[in-house]
Amino acid sequence: MAIRKPPITTREYWAPGHAACAGCGPAIVMKLATKAFSEAMEEKYGDPNAFAIAHATGCMEVVSAVFPYTAWKAPWIHVAFENAAAAASGVEAAWKKLGRKGKILAIGGDGGTADIGLQALSGMLERRHNVVYLMYDNEAYMNTGIQRSSSTPYGAWTTTSPPGKYSIGEDKPKKWVALIAAAHQAPYVATASIGDPYDFYRKMKKAASVDGPAFVQVLAPCVPGWRIPSEKTVEIARLAIESGLWPLFEIENGDFYNIKFQRFPKDGKFKKPIEDYLKIQGRFKHLFKRPEAIQELKNQIKEVWRILGKEVELL
């Protein structure tokens, strides 16, 4: 029988034996991001291994680097919670001085990016380092036991945003770091979701190919943190796209007037109810007794779409 060519490279940079939970969304991100990176490096420099990784602490750093072992098959450095972008900038500057061709990948969670690493990220983008910053967004500080971050969505349960008589759970709107990154007029900024793995793959490849800094924010569900069954990780990330809850877009050079959208319905009407996305996640369970909170969440998402230049209808 004829051999079919897989849509992603068979080179591996993320080895099994790591300690991520069964069904971990961010683990899928690590695997696909490095494969995409290597394809881009091969096409651009003729060397699939022309990259190195600086990784902020957080779940993916911890599960991949239990000393004396590593799941990484690429040069990789563990840095502190706050400075993946700064360390990556330094490595990139050193490579430049050495005349070494390639690109650096910085990885951080939402806590490491939206909160404590935001300043380092801003510096990296503003100084125009040739680095891709990958933010895997599982919407809370998972590694330390599910505390809220500024990227936690409105209404979500976390251990530091517990719902109850006087609380609906997280009470602030989600901070969209991709929009902050785009405001730096970075050559390439994109959002993605593991619910559309090949869209994510293409965007990582694009980010790795452009000259200068790029930023990719990818939605990656977390099994214990979202209180979901392990087999639903990808399905939930897909529902986030289909319900309109997770906009997929690309912004080049900070050009907010020419945003490219992916999987955007022509008529602006999303076909899946937001409730379909919420109801399979334990972290949103309490909202079903608080319909006004679900309405508020929908209003906030519509507002994000409006900022992106789109009037949408959500179910």
Binding site: P7, P16, V234
Partner: protein, 105 residues
């Protein structure tokens, strides 16, 4: 039978690795996590029916470990040494060629 892309790593770590502390905590063997056989975590096991498989690569693309690689004809091969039994492959397979069955050890 196709070989795991990680076979060389497994052999290398087994041959060369001591658990001694290195200067700067540098880890010298890439992919050395392969010594941790995470298949022991599994409760449900993906059972693959080749006749139903259309080689869409979805399971291969999405396995978080990865514990799925491809054989010479691009069919998925399940590596039970590492598969944690999450069920994503079965959930995402468009033709239901993968079924999760409770494992008896």
């Amino acid at each position: 039978m196709a070989e795991s892309p990680f076979k060389a790593d497994i052999e290398k770590v087994q041959k060369e690795y001591g658990e001694k502390m290195t200067p700067g905590a540098i880890v010298y063997i890439p992919g050395s996590s392969v010594v941790n056989k995470t298949g022991g975590w599994r409760v449900f096991m993906p059972k693959f029916d080749k006749d139903k498989c259309i080689r869409c690569f979805m399971c291969y693309t999405l396995c978080p470990e990865p514990a799925i690689y491809l054989d010479e004809e691009s069919y998925p091969v399940f590596d039970y040494e590492y598969c944690k039994g999450c069920g994503i492959c079965a959930n995402e397979c468009p033709t239901k060629a993968i079924e999760m069955v409770r494992e008896t050890k």
